[in-house]
């Protein structure tokens, strides 16, 4: 029996605390040359796709812009469009929010990216319901949390209707008869969240629709992925956790008339390489300290009680802290556990902090 083929994607390092900006080898996360280098490397290695995350609001803590990690990033569609011009085969995946955007606009953008890249576009559909992020948008915190996936489903279905409003054979361009196209693109969508109608202006793209990615790990997120996504991102690091997740999600596909291979399961993975295993372990230790400096560790902990968790990773000290989605954070959802570190992680200051009784026991 032939071995299962591995699919590989490359997450552009940027706004998260995995990225070590203080490393001597670190370059700009904004300059196009960085995106180009990363994309060309991924394509040289025959990766399936490059992946861009998204942040719709700069991270803050106590109303102050968070200043320890990489901050600031350019717009997803613009970067992917530019990368389409310097790559030939590499898939181009962007994270686009279904809560604050509109289906017509997003469908136009993805159909356009799919044309420009000759069939390499992918959309990581994320949701966000919090007013903190929503303040940047026209309607602010308009969406109750329990509706974020129902809106996402309606959003995705609406874009599918828009993509499919063109079948692909409408442009005739017959110079003899003078007929250019057979009018098409009609749509009328009336749902709980949307009431739109008109004609979709972008002809059918090479893939028809972008590849749909989904990153939610909740019950609703898994079901959402099983119903219509082409790949799901996970954070299950261990073999056993990965197998359990894999079996659970693949097992949900049949009821949607889908086969197990119709949904790819792709966990996030970091790696540290060395000439020997011992050297790799030592490098990994160094990377870990660079990622989580004493100052960052204090921010991790103090944010637990104040609401705006500044990082993408949950800490064990914040058991009730919840992520809204993607990179967005909710002040309202954060716990008031008042956790503070009992000791500086590297003991550089050697100080002790008082530990509130509400804190879970220190390990």
């Amino acid at each position: 029996m032939s071995r299962k083929q591995i699919h590989l994607a490359a997450h552009f390092p940027g706004v998260n605390n995995t990225t070590v900006w203080s490393d001597p080898a670190s370059g700009s996360h904004i300059d196009f040359s960085s995106f180009e280098h990363f994309a060309r490397t991924a394509e040289r290695a025959k990766f399936d796709f490059l992946f861009l995350a998204e942040g719709l609001r700069l991270r803050e803590q106590n109303g102050v812009i968070y200043d320890l990690d990489v901050m600031g990033r350019p717009d997803t569609f613009t970067v992917l469009a530019a990368l389409a011009a310097v790559t030939d085969r590499l898939g181009l995946a962007g994270t686009i929010n279904s809560t604050f955007n509109e289906p017509y606009e997003v469908a136009r953008q993805f159909a356009s990216l799919d044309h420009l890249s000759a069939g390499r576009a992918a959309w990581n559909v994320v949701t966000s319901w919090d007013a903190f992020t929503g303040e940047n948008f026209r309607r602010g915190g308009f969406l109750p949390k329990e509706k974020r996936y129902s809106r996402a489903k309606e959003f995705l279905a609406a874009t599918f209707e828009l993509f499919d409003s063109w079948r692909g054979d409408e442009i005739v361009a017959d110079k003899e008869t003078g007929e250019f196209w057979r009018p098409t693109g009609d749509f009328a969508i009336r749902t709980d969240q949307f009431d739109i109608s008109g004609r979709f202006p972008v002809p059918r793209s090479p893939q028809g629709r972008p590849v749909i990615l989904q990153a939610g790990d909740s019950e609703e997120g898994r079901e959402f992925a099983a119903s219509g996504a082409d790949a799901i991102f996970t954070r299950h690091g261990t073999l056993e956790a990965g197998q359990a997740f894999y079996a659970d999600v693949k097992g949900r596909l049949a009821k949607y008339g889908r086969d197990p291979e119709d949904l790819k399961i792709l966990p996030a993975a970091t790696f540290v390489l060395g000439d020997t295993d011992a050297e790799a372990q030592e490098k990994a230790r160094h990377v870990r300290y660079q990622q989580v400096s004493p100052a960052t560790a204090i921010k991790f902990s103090s944010s637990c009680g104040t609401g705006t968790c500044p990082t993408t990773t949950r800490t064990a000290r914040c058991p009730r802290w919840t992520r809204s989605s993607g990179r967005t954070r909710s002040r309202a959802a954060a716990p008031a556990c008042g956790c503070t570190p009992t000791r500086s992680p590297r003991r550089t200051s050697g100080g002790s902090w008082p530990r509130p009784s509400s804190c879970p026991p220190a390990r």
Binding site: A121, L273, R288
Partner: protein, 88 residues
Amino acid sequence: MIIEVTGRQNFIGTPARVAEALDEFVQADASDGFVLVPHVTPGGLDEFADTVVPLLQERGVFRTEYEGTTLREHLGLKAAPTTSGTDF
């Protein structure tokens, strides 16, 4: 404690050990692949591309050339239907 909890390091070792671990993870049906998250911009993928990928290719579990042109083809997905009707 915080450093240990928050720092994720899934695959650490020589290229040969990492290639083997990635392969075993997929063959054991714990995933269909990975989204690799390097630590450094923009060269954080270079070493993996130069050392681990050739070993995966030698093991016969990763392509040596793109076979298709679209991402859907890379991922081994069926063509998208031309009519809506997905029941979300």
